[in-house]
Amino acid sequence: MEQQPLQSIKLTAEQARKLLYQMLLIRRFEEKAAEMYTKEKIRGFLHLYIGEEAVAVGVMQALGPEDNVLCTYREHGHALVRGMDAGVIMAEMYGRQEGCCRGRGGSMHLFDAKTKFYGGNAIVAGHLAMAVGLGLADKKMKRKQLTCCFFGEGAMAEGAFHEAMNLAALWQVPVLFVCENNLYAMGTALRYTHAQTDLEKKGAAYGIASASVDGMDLMAVMQAANTAAESIRRTGQPYFLVCNTYRFRAHSMFDAELYREKSEVEEWKKRDPVPGFFNYLTQQHILIDNDFKEAEAKVEKEIEKAVEFADACSLEPVEELTKYTYSER
């Protein structure tokens, strides 16, 4: 049962431009990252978010700078929308010391204290309990902010999901749990991961308010996230939002995609959230074609700058290998 927006959000042209820019920025940044991967500038695991952009963009609109954000290893998009610099992210993915984590984290581990971005976490479901703890700290310190935690539907099979949800509900902490249900956990389809595939129903087992939303529809996600965030800010209680989406690309660069039909991917691509959102904007007469071109141009420049920056960056000296294993005394 997907959430029905109570009242529709009306976008100004300025808001629309910003959203469009964010959607495009993720898309083009990741396309560039894929390119840089084939050029071997980026190595290790690279998980692309292409197709799922509406989720990060939509949910983040409901957050303020004081809120905490935690993501999975598929987090470039979230980092960008959160306001981290594309060049700094790219430098991190290049493994350069000007990257957000001195290049130590790479694609899977973007961290940024300034924007309260707590990763980039690569143990599936390993960050959910941390989110509860961040929420607990806020509650104890009487700070009015929320913690937003993104994870995949595959993560929900882990015991860690269960424990985090129960603790969040018991302790009544202001945490927004966002499931990015892209139907696959690597090659394992939803029906092989969960006996109960109506994921939002799992919230009931913890007495947590839950909803699901079409994750390909930016406006719907924004609406649902607003409702969720408002509920959390009002009640101090956690909320569970399932965003139904799809990943257009392989799980990572090591994936031969044996587990799904090309036709299925093509079918979903018809619902591509980027053109989808732009179509909506033109239909609503909020933006015109030229806005799209301008956004593309702006994004292109931004990406170019990011790559230039990353290319010019340097490697952390080997002597610093163990620095920060422990704090300096």
Binding site: A129, L134, A137, K140, G159
Partner: protein, 328 residues
């Protein structure tokens, strides 16, 4: 004199109370720390004194509440997370190893995790295979953690404050079998250096290197050895990670002999590491090979006689050392 006698349990409790009084950001969470009073009555009445916000009973969710402790530490609190016993700690080990231990380094120095985890460990109460583990060696392997072992009343009383002051995750092992033991607490000492091992008794003939439940056992053995004219130095490692090489090697340089005692099972243990370090750095100081007396490589059985047989006993230490010194 007797007025100064204090149980190990009471030492921990005083440390907790002091920490809670000293810093508003400190809170204790874990299974049954509140209403039950702590599985071993360590935190009895603290709930009444500090209220449920500071003494939080958690459900049975070791991974969950340790993870929440990490998050709360990131969020500016100073959580003391109690894992009821080490036997349940593996359920939280992913959180400890992949999150607490890596966050600072992996984030390039951005995010500290000022978390303290306490757990009760060890053998000695006939609790059988699943409840008698000495898993200090597992934790001592993991970079990014500071691992402490409170083998004495002094440490049980005074380790917590510096652990809380540390910006990084610290794990304190406490020992179930010591809880009821009464000792005099030296009034002269009110802080503990959690970077240094500690010589508990000076001696010139051999270094008895140990930690945890080994400390009092080795001190007892050293008493007996003294009666036989052997001056054993008892070195309490106290910090199992990062190990304090300096103090270890200085002791071996003095005695030219080392004997390591540990309840944990022998293979890939703290004593293997200590032996390997002495090999590397003090080989030419040695008058004889370093020997170890460790726990048997076995799941711990329930009956007392088998439990006793599974870990080093003072009498064994004494006779092993006598043999070792006769050989020389």
């Amino acid at each position: 004199m007797a007025g100064n006698l204090i149980t190990y349990r009471e030492c921990i409790k005083q440390a907790l109370r002091e920490a809670l009084q000293a810093d508003e950001r400190v809170f204790v969470m874990g299974e049954d720390v509140g209403r039950y009073g702590g599985a071993f009555a360590v935190s009895k009445n603290l709930l009444q004194e500090f209220g449920p916000e500071r003494i939080m009973d958690t459900p049975l969710s070791e991974a969950g509440f340790v993870g929440a402790g990490i998050g709360a530490a990131l969020g500016g609190m100073r959580p003391i997370v109690e894992i009821m016993t080490v036997n349940f700690s593996l359920l939280a080990l992913d959180q400890i190893a992949n999150n607490a231990a890596t966050l600072l380094h992996m984030s390039g120095g951005q995010f500290n995790v000022p978390l303290v985890i306490r757990m009760s460990a060890g053998i000695g109460r006939q609790l059988a295979a699943q409840h008698s583990h000495s898993w200090e060696p597992l934790f001592a392997h993991l970079p990014g953690l500071r691992i402490l072992s409170a083998g004495t009343h002094e440490d049980a009383r005074h380790m917590l404050a510096p652990a809380l002051a540390d910006p990084d995750p610290v794990i304190i092992f406490e020992y179930t079998s010591l809880l009821n033991l009464e000792k005099e607490l030296p009034t002269s000492i009110n802080q503990v250096d959690i970077h240094k091992a500690k010589v508990r008794r000076e001696g010139k003939d051999i270094s008895l290197i140990t930690y945890g439940t080994g400390v009092y056992k080795c001190l007892a053995a050293a008493d007996e050895l003294a009666a036989a004219g052997i001056a054993a130095e008892v070195l309490d490692l106290r910090v199992l990670r990062p190990l304090d090489d300096e103090t270890i090697l200085a002791s071996v340089a003095k005695t030219n002999r080392a004997f390591i005692v540990e309840d944990a099972s022998r293979s890939v243990s703290v004593s293997s590491e200590v032996s390997a370090r002495i090999m590397e750095k003090s080989f030419y100081d040695l008058d004889a090979p370093v020997q170890r007396l460790c726990g048997a490589e076995v799941p711990i059985p329930y009956p007392k006689h088998l439990e006793d047989a599974a870990v080093p006993q003072p009498a064994q230490i004494v006779s092993a050392i006598k043999t070792l010194l006769q050989h020389a």
